[in-house]
Structure formats: C-alpha cells, structure tokens
C-alpha cells in the first residue's frame, strides 16, 4: 500500500475549473494543462496575448548586508551585476557542477533579492540555500503566501495598461521589476517571462490572485487574450529553446553542456560548483544541448527518444513536441559535442524506426523569419 499525498492547489484552482481547464498533476500540483487547445493557446501568445497561472513556483527573499555575497557564493551568476530594480537568470549548482535548479533573481533593493524557483524544487532549494547562508544574510520562503500570473504576448503591454487603467507598461524596461499601484493594490510587476514574447510576470498576495486573474481576463478580452495551460507553456519555451528543469537541466548535466555558460561567472573568486566546471571547461565539454527540427509529416519527437548518427547512439532528446508555429516536430537533445553541428542531420529512433531531424542554430523558432 502506498500513501498518496493529495496534490497542492494554487489560489486559482477554482478559476481554472470554472474556465474549463483540464487539470493534471505537475510536480505535486494540480495545474491546468490546457483550456481550449494547446495550439490555440500557443498561437494566442505568439500573436496576441495569454495568461498563465505560475503560482506554483517558489519565491524566496534573501536580505541583509551580506545577501549579495551569500548569493554570489551560492549561485552561478553574479548578483553584483544586477542594478536595483532589475533581474538575472542564474543556476543553483552542486559541488560537482550538476544543476540543482535554475532560477530568476530580482534585485528589489540594495540589500534585498527575490528568488523565483521551480515548483518541484522549492523545498530542496530552500534547504540547500539555507546550508549555504553566510554572514549577515537572511533567507525567507514566501512561496505559500505569494501567487503569480504571467501575462505574455505582443498585446501584453496594452492588456496591462487596460487593466491598470493608465500607462504603466512603457515604464517597465526589459527584465526590470517595479512596484505598481493596481486594482489589486500595490504589486510587483516584472517584464520577464518564459515564452520568448514580450510580457510581464505579476506577483500578488494569494488572497488577491482571483481578482488579478479575472481582471486580466476582462481587460484582455478585446485583445484576444486566452488563459493558457502548462501545455502551451511547454511548447512556447521549447520553440525558443529555454531549458526546463528535469529535462535540459539536471544534477547529471552541467550548465556548460546545457549551453548556459554565460550565466556562470568564472570571474567570481568562488562559488559552489566552480572547481568542477573549470575542470570540465579545460578538459573539454563532453556533450551539448542542441535544437532539432523535423521534416513535415514525420512523427513528433519526444523526451527520452535516442539520437543516432550512422547507427551509433550519440545522445537523447530532452524535450520534444510538435511546433505549433513551424508545424513540424521540434526537440532539444543532449548529444556528443563532436556531433553538435548546426545544419547536420541526425536520426531519431521512433517506435523502432529512424526518423531524420536537422540540428539547427538555437532558437528553433524566430519571430518574423
């Protein structure tokens, strides 16, 4: 007999049910995978706008005079390079250089940072970061009290302004975070996202989540905004080759293999994982994450399928699906470095047959091409 842990629900659970969302288990959370259709929701974000419930993600606050020093030791990127009111992508590494999580850091004050981490890693990350705490720095887990919604797509600035009823979007630069008066009170709004489109991530107290969600749906209706589930979130990020923890990133993959070297600051005197990554950098990076595109009419590639070259296995697909924009199969794969050459063809084993795919320069999909 196994005891089952009931799935966690975000404050938007009832809103998802009311909107006809199909709920699935995702990292222990009951989340909408789609409302209407993944393709429709995907195209809404590329052409107009969409909103996603991202309340399942974790939020930590690091503060204190030594908070920057603590984060620079604990994470791969350099937080000293983030101006107050801006943000940065970073990685939480193990000593062996493997990836424990990827995260976004918002500098909300000279000595205050907001960390947004993956839902599946909240408890593990908090424990790891607590163990790495040094000096006069504190770390707080606000994940349960903070909800968040991502508003994404070319119409998102217009939708945000319509909801706030004044010009707000133009005052938020790319990757910036501001505190803004809204119909849900004073909220943090960042111009960030996970779709490759312009857009915003809006944080709010859990108690305000439904009001925020319904307000944005209402304001977005004339702009063609659709509520979007995790299915579209996955195909959108795949088209622009954003990594997903548990797929492109894992304790067995280094950020150098994943192509995230620019988010690792080797200039810093020390950080967890530095020695192992330096060693790998000098010895040669054994594998690379590549983007792949299939020919029309071939079956979509899926995570776990083997990648072959002249009958020899050279790696495996880490994420794969049908690209709603290209209308062909697309994938990211971790392959031997020697084979990771854009323009070259590889074979994907699908149900016992080889299906050719081409290695492409990332991203898989570019706007207006």
């Amino acid at each position: 007999m196994s005891s089952s842990i009931p799935p966690k629900r975000t404050p938007l659970y009832n809103a998802h049910r009311a909107a006809g969302g199909r709920l699935i288990d995702f990292a222990g959370w009951e989340m909408p995978v789609q409302y209407s259709s993944i393709v429709q929701e995907h195209l809404a974000v590329r052409q107009k706008a969409g909103i996603f419930d991202i309340s399942h993600m974790g939020e930590f606050v690091a503060a204190g005079p030594d908070s920057a020093a603590f984060l620079n030791q604990a994470l791969s990127n350099n937080v000293e390079r983030i101006p107050v009111g801006n943000s940065q992508y970073s990685l939480l590494l193990a000593e062996n250089g493997g990836v424990l999580d990827d995260l976004f850091i918002y500098r909300t004050g000279q000595e205050e940072f907001l960390l947004v981490v993956n839902a599946s890693q909240i408890d593990a990350d908090f424990k790891t970061l607590q163990q790495r705490l040094t000096g006069r720095a504190t770390l707080r887990n606000d994940s349960d009290s903070i909800a968040a919604v991502a508003l994404q797509g070319p119409a998102s600035p217009a939708v945000l302004d319509a909801w706030i009823k004044r010009d707000a979007a133009s005052k938020i630069g790319r990757h910036a975070i501001v505190t803004q008066d809204t119909p849900c009170g004073s909220l943090r709004i960042a111009r960030t996202g996970y779709t490759g489109e312009d857009g915003f991530e809006i944080l709010c107290p859990s108690t305000q989540a439904e009001r925020l969600w319904n307000g944005l749906i209402e304001a977005g209706r004339p702009h063609g905004l659709l509520p979007c589930g995790l299915g579209a979130r996955d195909t959108l990020r795949m088209e622009v080759c954003y990594p997903l923890y548990g797929h492109e990133l894992s304790p067995e993959t280094s950020p150098l293999e994943a192509g995230l070297g620019k988010f690792v600051d080797f200039e810093k005197p020390a950080f967890v994982g530095k020695e192992a990554l330096l060693k790998q950098k000098n010895a040669g990076i054994p594998r690379r994450s590549v983007g792949l595109v299939a020919r029309p009419g071939t079956p979509p590639p899926r995570a776990g399928y083997g990648v072959f070259k002249e009958g020899r296995r050279i790696g495996q697909i880490t994420s794969g699906s049908q690209s709603p924009c290209l209308q062909t199969g697309m994938a990211m794969a971790l392959v031997e470095t020697a084979a990771a050459e854009p323009g070259k063809s590889v074979d994907i084993e699908i149900r016992g047959k080889y299906v050719p795919m081409e290695i492409v320069k990332k991203p898989i999909y570019r706007k207006n091409t």
Partner: protein
C-alpha cells in the same frame, strides 16, 4: 459529446461501422476531445493482420503519443491516406473523414463484445 447510433464502440474509445463483413474503424468524439490537437497518425497497411485488443495504430497530439487498439480481428483492407496527410481530420470529423482503417472481419462474434452507443456513453460518464 456526439455518439452516433449506428456504431459500436470499444472501451478504449475506437468506433466500428459495419458494412457487410468490412468494419470501418476510427476514434470517438470523446477520444479526439481528450487528445485535442492531433498532429500525426501512423496507420496499418493493407494486408496486415490485426488482433482485437492489440495495438495496431498510433495517434499523436501535441502533448503525447497514444496507441490505437484494433476493436476486431481480421485483415486490413484499407487505411485513410487523407487522414495521414491531414491528421486534424480526426479532430474535426471523427466519425466521417477522420476514419482510420478498414478491417475484413475474421470473427463476427467479436462484434458482440463491443459496446452499444448507450453503454459507451455510460462508460465515459455521459
């Protein structure tokens, strides 16, 4: 959910339409709604022997690949090339242009094991 009266159904959501001893097979409206966004099908070729309850085709949505099971045993006499070229037909016209394949029935008694429209409707909570 649309469930035509003249069809029989497998619990695994395939439908069967009989004409003489030829069974035309497709997937139900309920199944296509569950899958949504069907982007690829792999159908059995004419001449292949299929066995009731065994997988014989594949349907892929944006999200995942699913097996299609032969609702009856027999020899494949035709598969729907139009569906292979345009898999979305399984979404837009599941009981018409979205048919998958035709089987020459080996054992008529197998039809009695399939669900009538009312029983199928009940099985999907209608």
């Amino acid at each position: 959910m649309s469930i035509p009266n003249d069809l029989k159904f497998a619990a695994s959501h395939e439908w069967v339409r009989m004409e003489g001893d030829i069974a035309t097979v497709g997937i139900s409206d309920h199944a296509q709604k569950e899958l949504t966004d069907i982007v690829f099908v792999e159908l059995p070729s004419a001449g292949r022997q299929v066995e009731a309850g065994k997988e014989c085709a594949v349907v892929e949505s944006v999200k995942a690949a699913s097996d299609i099971y032969a609702p009856v045993s027999g020899e494949i006499t035709a598969s729907n090339d139009e569906l292979t070229a345009n898999p979305a037909l399984a979404n837009t016209d599941p009981y018409g242009k979205g048919w998958f394949f035709k089987v020459k029935l080996a054992n008529k008694a197998e039809l009695d094991k399939l669900l009538d429209p009312a029983a199928y409707g009940k099985s999907i909570g209608e």
